[in-house]
Symmetry: D2
Subunit: 157 residues, 4 copies
């Protein structure tokens, strides 16, 4: 099985909607935060995984934009103090884009873990000034290839 990045993401009670579980749109906010932690270069002594090679900040030459997302919700997500275990890998490394794949699990440590959702995002690297796609750098490919595997398979399409 593909190596996966395990990103612990804390819920907030405010992520729940009036149905008392994590809101469907808010789930994509959680995936966004997982991406930020996996991709963005650390600043000021932050700890970050080896995949965190995208420049950020006002001087960054590149931006990463979301072109497409797909998500299946498999079970309602309750509020818990422990962080969700968001597992992340790459379904494809293209010329200037990547397919990020996710499975969202209940907190690590408690068995069995519940699979709450599976999802994918097409992320395009663009020039920060012109918004034109730019090629992934050798450094990016090298950093991300260890987590390249089969794309997520959706059951409901």
């Amino acid at each position: 099985m593909t190596d996966r990045l395990h990103v612990p993401i804390h819920l907030r009670w405010g992520d729940l909607d009036a149905f008392n579980h994590v809101n469907n749109a808010t789930m994509l906010k959680l995936l966004e935060e997982a991406r930020v932690r996996v991709f963005w270069m650390p600043v000021g002594g932050e700890e970050a995984p080896a995949t965190a090679v995208i420049e950020t900040g006002a001087d960054a030459r590149h931006l990463s934009l979301i072109a497409r997302q797909e998500i299946e919700y498999l079970a309602p997500v309750p509020y818990r103090r422990e962080p969700l275990d968001i597992q992340l890998w790459f379904g494809k490394l293209g010329g200037s884009s990547v397919e990020v794949c996710y499975e969202v699990y209940s907190p690590a440590g408690a068995e069995p873990q519940v699979l709450y959702a599976r999802a994918s995002s097409a992320v395009v690297l663009v020039d920060a000034a012109t918004f034109r796609p730019v090629r992934l750098s050798d450094r990016m490919r090298a950093a991300w290839t260890p987590y390249l595997g089969a794309p997520v398979v959706f059951s409901r399409r």
Copy 2:
């Protein structure tokens, strides 16, 4: 061409993220609000379209849950005071679920309109107590059939 519901949804400046356009996850919040306005029975003299036949409130026998969503982002969405023109129709009316299709356009009235995003949601009607799927009622089918058409076609899948 299929008849579509046109739902005006106001942006908030707070929908923008640090990239200064509407956040990708927040786009699903806008779709959610369009669904609520299209589907939920009016209360206390509210105006609502003829499709608004799903009961709400503490006594409601049914809930509508999101099983799946897919979205393509075609252009960045800037903040504007005028409401977006979210166009909504049905790609499928199943036994206990529907496929809701959307195109998100810049505000109506200004020509040409910009197509910002296309999306679809699988919505399942469930029993409010047991969370088991329940069949769409005849009233629902009658209310929604006029907006039944070809599902949204995604270009990037």
Copy 3:
């Protein structure tokens, strides 16, 4: 009584939290949107009140920052399709800051209106590059003085 600006702000069902009324922090998002509509210069043919004289966009010389906020919640706010009636005026026009006062009412038109919340924000005009306070312009003072009145009185301090 002071003249007030009446800003219609649409709720979203997603503004509710798991207690099934508008979340306490989200109330400040609604006030933010009311401020944006009252203060920010219109672009591209937008309609805006005469108070909308603060430049926006990448070239803007000034930013308006929030230094302080206070809010009292008087009644839970349910979801409704019609916009809330947010009433807004100035409690003070200082050298480089203003005190914005608000009362948040149920939708206009239905009698009697319910007062949901009262609030105030200290807004400071700063230089966009240095973040140093800058003096309100004559144009700002002229535009805002008609809505200058007694500050909001909080009952629970």
Copy 4:
């Protein structure tokens, strides 16, 4: 000096607004999450501080409602991977309400810490069915008294 609860709260990049720092209203979401972690009884083996004595869930007899909030923003909050250090104590334990006081600091461990904001919330304990105030229990008073101290002093009122 009063004993304080130190609650680590992770930011999300999505908490930033188009000005590229944590949004003013979103700051109250962070305070909300700090309160939840401090006050709500743990479920299913969660770790929680000794102050976590308010029942939650569908069977809870009580709800805690926010009656009032006040906040001063002292410095813009950037996104960081490490959690903010939200310090929390009680300014008052009343008959059926408490005043919760907060100071929001940059992540613990880096010296010197930056004080980003100070705030207070009036929280009222109410009956879940009638929404009438109910008296704090002896257990609540005993759990919270160790963190009772001088209320936050606001500099800009």
